[in-house]
């Protein structure tokens, strides 16, 4: 019997309309766990670098994590992996919600989509019955509306639906996959789903998930619940409120937005408004939130309340979480009411709440600087808010300038030319980043930004405080119950960390310490992404309930896989390396690994070089960031080495440019038509 996992994947070929239930190899679970880990292996095996994102041979994998569907609190993530049209690298966006556990209960660990349907379809998975159904009547429908209509027509209100909106159908590079209160938004995976002609996947399951050693496993679950209770009653003092508790940042709960609005940048990641927050703003925004928010809500099997149902007067109800609360507001220099209103439309269209506002702010900036003109923007309203709605409508329909902007700031700037590239200033690996511009280089963050392959800082940071504590007393207080650390030395790193002087940024934490901190933080995220655990209860917050010391026990007793800390660390390193291998094979090199030029005002080129050199070595990568023969061998990834050798990867230092046109653009140039 298989425990925690079901041992079966669904293979769907949309070109041929073929559906297969395929048993998986339990040895792969031991080596790569599940979720992101086994996704990376499948993409390595089946999607060679010649396959473009919009090729029928690209796979779109909806995976559950290894422990999804077990009673482990907060383990509910769906990990969606494919090749991104925006970065041309491996994408692994994730979403919480209720979809992954439902798929497990239906009897599957993953749904692997290949091919392309000639007509728009949706997939209906009801335990053993799986159908590809016509979705022509859902064409152009909003993502949330689509889910509702599907539940109605199936007469199955308990079905969980992941769907795309108009943006995904039109292959907009920032298209998301929406699922009630959650979404897998980054890296354009909704565009791949749309390209495959797949509008939605609805799933309903009523089968059991088995546990290998029940008494031990439930004991661990109870410990975690108890810890959450205690931890929530004792927020961490001396850090900003959103870092004091558990969960993803409690944006839907709080009214005080002084920190975000005065520290993050407004517009196209441009302007810091240090005096923005005042009593009047606070009163107005509080009223907006109070009048819109009907309830704070959670994902499956989690006591946190990171999301909210929003019923903005006069608009259909939708759900929101985290920082999407402010992204539209701040990009448009507007207020919270505008942010909530445009986010409703954007959620139905199905677009990423991080990239989309930035793309629109970028367009406005180009217009204000004469790079885009009235000829490019016929009929654009004159007021800022009106312009944002106008741009959003055009982007998701790929109309006029919207067709260019729909490829994100990196590709749009290349296509527009005339100096537009200077305005696409906030990207890493061709992908828009959080609007943060800071003063002093932070060595830990430098490494995370540079080498993170999720290409999103929130998906690699966590665990270690973002800044030192002011007094020794506070530091000692913090480290005394810091049980999550993999090694005692991290306590000393924190105790010695100062705001000023010898032991402060950028030279402290030292290069070596920075490598160790980043490696720990990243490893925890990778473990979460394979188990399906929400980062909000694990890798993201300070002092989380899940950590390197209890995870092996969860895996041993839950999945029946013999696991200890060293073995788990190695497994995470194995599939983390495999993610990198996928990207290396697609041309990613050292030159791509850099934070935006203006992320910090004070930069230190020599130190940065030393950081990257040392970290690469620490990870077992060569100076180009390519995993070495020795490190691949140690991880049992000799097949990666063989492929690298065959392709001449080691002799390619990245001077030969990797593919530098977007797929949409290429189609236009070759006069290609819609598939």
């Amino acid at each position: 019997m298989r425990y925690a996992e079901t041992g079966f994947n669904l293979e769907i070929d949309l070109s041929r309309g073929n559906i297969e239930r395929v048993e998986t190899d339990p040895r792969d679970t031991e080596l790569y766990l599940g979720g992101l880990g086994t996704n990376a292996k499948i993409l390595w095996d089946r999607v060679p670098p010649e396959v473009d994102p919009f090729s029928p041979d690209n796979l779109l994998i909806f995976a559950t994590g290894l422990l999804c569907g077990t009673p482990a609190t907060g383990c509910n993530r769906t990990i969606v992996s494919t090749i991104s049209p925006q970065t041309l690298l491996m994408a692994f966006s994730m979403m919480g919600g209720f979809w992954a556990p439902e798929l497990k209960y239906a009897g599957y660990d993953k749904v692997i989509i290949r091919g392309k349907s000639p007509d728009l379809v949706y997939l209906w998975i009801n335990n053993d019955k799986v159908e590809i159904r016509d979705a022509s009547h859902l064409q152009g429908k909003g993502a949330i509306k689509t889910a509702e209509l599907i539940q109605e027509e199936l007469k199955e209100p308990k079905a969980q639906v992941a769907s795309i909106g108009l943006a995904g159908e039109n292959r907009v590079y920032m298209a998301s996959i929406e699922q009630g209160r959650s979404s897998a938004s980054r890296l354009g995976i909704g565009a791949v789903m749309g390209d495959k002609g797949l509008k939605a996947i609805a799933v309903r399951g009523t089968k059991d998930i088995n546990i290998a050693r029940p008494a031990e496993f439930i004991g661990l679950c109870n410990e975690v619940l108890q810890y959450i209770k205690v931890r929530e009653e004792k927020p961490i003092p001396g850090v900003m409120p959103i870092l004091a508790g558990l969960g993803s940042p409690q944006e839907m709960k709080v009214h005080d937005e002084a920190w975000h609005t005065q520290n993050f940048m407004w517009g196209n990641a441009r302007t810091r408004r240090k005096d923005f927050w005042n009593k009047e703003v606070e009163e107005k925004w509080t009223e907006t939130l109070e009048n819109s928010r009907t309830r704070l809500i959670s994902c499956y099997n989690c006591p946190m309340k990171c999301g909210a149902t929003l019923s903005v007067p006069g608009l259909p109800t939708y759900m929101m979480k985290c920082f999407s609360k402010l992204t539209y507001t701040m990009a448009a220099y507007s207020d919270l009411d505008f942010g909530f209103r445009i986010a409703q439309r954007a959620t139905e269209y199905g677009v990423d709440g991080f990239s989309t506002p930035q793309v629109m702010a970028f367009a406005i900036e180009l217009y204000e600087n004469g790079i885009l003109t009235d000829d490019d923007m016929p009929g654009m309203p004159s007021d800022n808010e009106g312009r944002f709605y106008w741009l959003l409508d055009r982007i998701v329909r790929r109309e006029g300038i919207g067709d260019v902007l729909a490829n994100g700031t990196y590709w749009a700037a290349k296509e527009i030319g005339r100096g537009a590239e200077a305005y696409a200033h906030n990207n890493i690996k061709k992908h828009e980043q959080l609007p943060l511009k800071l003063s002093m280089l932070n060595p830990v963050y430098f490494l995370m930004y540079a080498t993170g392959e999720k290409i999103n800082i929130t998906q690699i940071e966590g665990q270690f405080p973002q800044a030192p504590f002011a007094t020794m007393e506070e530091r000692e207080d913090f480290v005394k119950d810091w049980i999550q650390i993999p090694d005692e030395k991290f306590k000393q790193y924190l105790l010695d960390w100062e705001f000023r002087g010898e032991h402060s940024n950028p030279y402290y934490p030292t290069v070596q310490m920075s490598c160790e901190i980043v490696d720990w933080q990243e490893t925890m995220h990778y473990i979460d992404d394979a188990l399906g655990m929400c980062a909000g209860l694990s890798s993201f917050p300070l002092k989380p309930p899940y950590h390197i010391h209890n995870y092996p026990k969860f895996i041993s007793s839950g999945a029946g896989i013999d696991m200890d800390e060293a073995k788990l660390w190695k497994a995470a390193k194995r599939y983390r390396t495999l993610v990198r291998a996928n990207n290396i094979r697609r041309g990613m090199r050292r030159k791509d690994e850099k934070p935006p030029e203006n992320h910090w005002k004070k930069r230190f080129p020599d130190l940065e070089k030393e950081l990257l050199d040392t970290y690469y070595k620490f990870k077992g990568w060569n100076t180009q960031g390519i995993p070495t023969k020795e490190s691949l061998n140690e991880l049992g990834l000799d097949y990666v080495f063989e492929d690298f050798e065959k392709r001449g990867v080691y002799s390619d230092n990245g001077d030969t440019p990797s593919k530098e046109t977007s797929e949409e653009n290429e189609k236009k140039q070759s006069g290609g038509s819609e598939p």
Binding site: T70, P71, T206, K207, P214, A215, F217, I218, R295, P303
Partner: protein, 181 residues
């Protein structure tokens, strides 16, 4: 027949639906606890508590499985509270032919909440313990009830018929029926 007074423990789960965050942890732990051996599997479709959810309409009501009933009600009820219209029979606890909740998914056998009866007793039912948002609160109180001798089902039925038709008529009918057979 009237008996002596006796003390009885009334077990109640107070459901504060306003506090429900919709996470369904109650369903997870209920189905895990009632699996055999305990916690060896879980499956919300087997849970004896269900959260009736309709997120876009802000409807979240945890409902416990009550008594099995072989027949549907003659009519259905529908509640509208604070402008929110609830599904037919949403608040009903019965495992009943009109709907699929509170039945084992494979056998169709009815499910009923047993307040996590176990030996030794749990402090509180597990759904309550796992609800950190306090949407489910366990309460116990002692009530004095008059001890009544339990009537058999048939006796209750016959008594009702006798009230309606008179005892003589019932006896005649029974005699006639036994001859026919």
């Amino acid at each position: 027949m009237k008996g002596d007074k006796e003390k009885k423990i009334i077990k109640t789960i107070k459901i504060d639906a306003d506090k429900c965050n919709g996470c369904r942890a109650c369903e997870v732990i209920c189905s895990a606890f009632h699996s055999e051996p305990k916690y060896s599997s879980n499956n919300p479709a087997r849970s004896r508590i269900r959260v009736i959810r309709d997120p876009l309409r802000d409807i979240y009501i945890p409902v416990y499985a009550g008594e099995y009933t072989p027949a549907e009600c003659m009519g259905r009820d529908k509640y509208v509270i604070d402008g929110k219209e609830y599904d037919e029979c949403a608040f009903c606890r019965a495992s009943c032919p009109s709907r699929d909740i509170f039945k084992e998914p494979d056998s169709g056998l009815p499910l009923k909440c047993d307040m996590c009866e176990s030996d030794p007793d749990l402090e509180e039912p597990l759904c309550v313990q796992w609800c950190l948002n306090d949407a489910l609160i366990y309460e116990e109180r002692e009530e004095e009830v008059e001890e009544e001798e339990e009537q058999e089902e048939l006796e209750i039925g016959l008594e009702a018929l006798a009230d309606k038709f008179g005892l003589d008529k019932i006896m005649d009918t029974v005699a006639r029926m036994s001859v026919k057979e």
